[in-house]
Symmetry: C2
Subunit: 331 residues, 2 copies
């Protein structure tokens, strides 16, 4: 059983994989490890993944067989396990709990060669809708506190499979970074009686120098204090506290701007590795006034060095105004 | 002039390099870029660096000429500049200031082939003493709030020069991570009237399962909630709030355990890339009771993916007890 351990200074939780532990010789050097050969995520190989928890299929196709456009399956090597009771205990001054949670893989397309930036719009909307369905379902589990949806694209961004996929991790704790973001937006609201993200959207749409793209529901921007070159955020234009509580029509608009933004990044940066994360509240009712869900996309162009790790303080060699200009003009 | 910008939600500051900005084509792919050829840090090439701010030299050798065992020079491509007045201003809802600060390079040895793990003990002690000298000097500048000392070893860890060196960055703000660490240790002290690091040292020396090495002044451990495989902390055994205020004899003991620990990592992990950071208080007098300086060493063995970036929450595939066992037995 994996273990969750808490840092006694920061309050930061860490998952320690105690089962499939990696020895010194298991860490291959930084070179790109070969990807390719047999793909367990391709259509026809449904028996090589754990049974699906969600799928969008043709009428009449039976579960765990071909005929799907999207599948969600449990991760074969999960960081957390869904079975068991949550058990919290101390070890001297330290705190730990067993690794209860969910770890799922969203297989975004049956085609090995497709990516999120080549998929038709309907395919991208399916992906965003699948995230919503799984969030709603996982939130019903009373042991779990937060659902994380993220994508690693390209091996330099941590993807270990080439086939287009994203991941969902449901946790029995609220991660520190999430808590800090919620706290930050709450403090801003207490001070100004306005949502900080609504203020960002308003100022960016007025200044325009950091706007990359927009549609009737969303805007994508290079944020003012970008940590990384070409960091990009996608925000709903109107106040939307939680990802899974949006009106159904918004998922299509979100798919449109995500697809558009990823294509611009692909064109300007020559198909870069990237990570994106959906930032949404763990307690949507409670955070309704001051939190505003959004997507953060981080192309992986530079190596993060000691300075950044030690301080949470970043040196970004590309001003966001310049990044936005390149991306605005792309296409 | 570089610019410091503050994220309005997290309160996190970012340095935006506005002068030597990197365009899309400047981001080389992830492959290891060739290192080699002419080295500006080697003995004999003193005229290829800015004039030294500190050096340890043979008697009679003149500044900026051969005959040194260690030099500290300003970074030729600094992230921050020391000249000018600190100027804080708003831009709508955003906050920024000009990039005042210092960025220096510690050239740890005149020999291109030496590294911190091959240098004789006296050489390592010189490096640690140089850190202290520069910290004491930079703290005199009233515009600056925090001095960061760190080392990137190996190109995968962000080093752009092969010649053994570390870096010093003095900032006009206290970075969020540093502030959170100080706050965390303060909260622990308010609750228990004990320093959390003293408690960690005490428990680790009793349990021993995560101890890697020790001498009369220091202990190196694999921390309980390690974020990364083979993450290693070096802590003073007795309460020491600040790096630069230690008694002189402790720098020799710190050099001994740092050298010993780096050699173990080198042997077990086949000369891995790594980062280390000296964690010390920005306001040593104020934080005297509850803060305890230490070094955090992070071998760069795995790729940090979207999950980690988005959450500050890590999945570590090697339990620290196993890492410590490998490192304890090395040599």
């Amino acid at each position: 059983m994996p273990e969750l351990r808490k840092d006694p200074i920061y309050g930061r939780w860490v998952i320690i994989s105690t089962e499939r532990s990696r020895r010194p010789s298991d860490f291959a050097p930084e070179e790109r490890r070969p990807i390719g050969g047999f793909c367990p995520l391709c259509e026809g190989n449904e028996d090589r993944t754990p049974p699906e928890v969600l799928a969008f299929r043709d009428n009449g196709a039976s579960p765990n067989s071909p005929g799907w456009s999207l599948r969600v399956v449990p991760n074969k090597f999960p960081a957390l396990r869904i079975e068991g009771e949550l058990d919290r205990e101390g070890e001297g001054i330290y705190d730990k709990m067993n690794g209860i949670g969910a770890h799922e893989v969203v297989i975004e397309t049956p085609q090995h060669s497709e990516t999120l930036s080549t998929l038709p719009l309907k395919g991208v909307e399916n992906v965003l809708w699948a995230y919503r369905e799984r969030m709603v379902d996982l939130r019903r589990d009373q042991r779990l506190r937060h659902v994380l949806v993220f994508k690693n694209y390209g091996s330099a961004a941590g993807a270990s499979l080439e086939h287009s996929h994203s991941q969902i991790i449901a946790l029995p704790i609220v991660p520190t970074r999430v808590r800090e973001e919620i706290e930050g937006s709450k403090n801003y609201f207490l001070y100004k009686d306005r949502c900080v993200y609504c203020d960002i959207v308003r100022q960016e749409l007025r200044q325009r120098s950091r706007v990359i793209a927009e549609n009737s529901g969303f805007v994508s921007i290079a944020p003012f204090a970008s940590r990384f070159p070409f960091e990009t955020w996608i925000l709903p234009k109107i106040h939307q506290p939680s990802y899974e509580q949006m009106e159904a029509t918004f998922y299509g608009l979100a798919a449109e701007i995500l697809s558009d933004t990823l294509r611009r990044l692909k064109q300007v940066l020559d198909d870069p590795p990237y990570n994106y994360i959906i930032h949404t509240s763990s307690y949507p009712e409670q955070d309704r006034d001051y939190y505003h869900w959004h997507i953060e996309i981080m192309p992986k162009l530079t190596k993060v060095a000691g300075f950044e790790w030690g301080t949470g303080f970043y040196i970004n060699p590309t001003p966001p105004e310049e990044a936005a200009e390149y991306l605005r003009e792309a296409r």
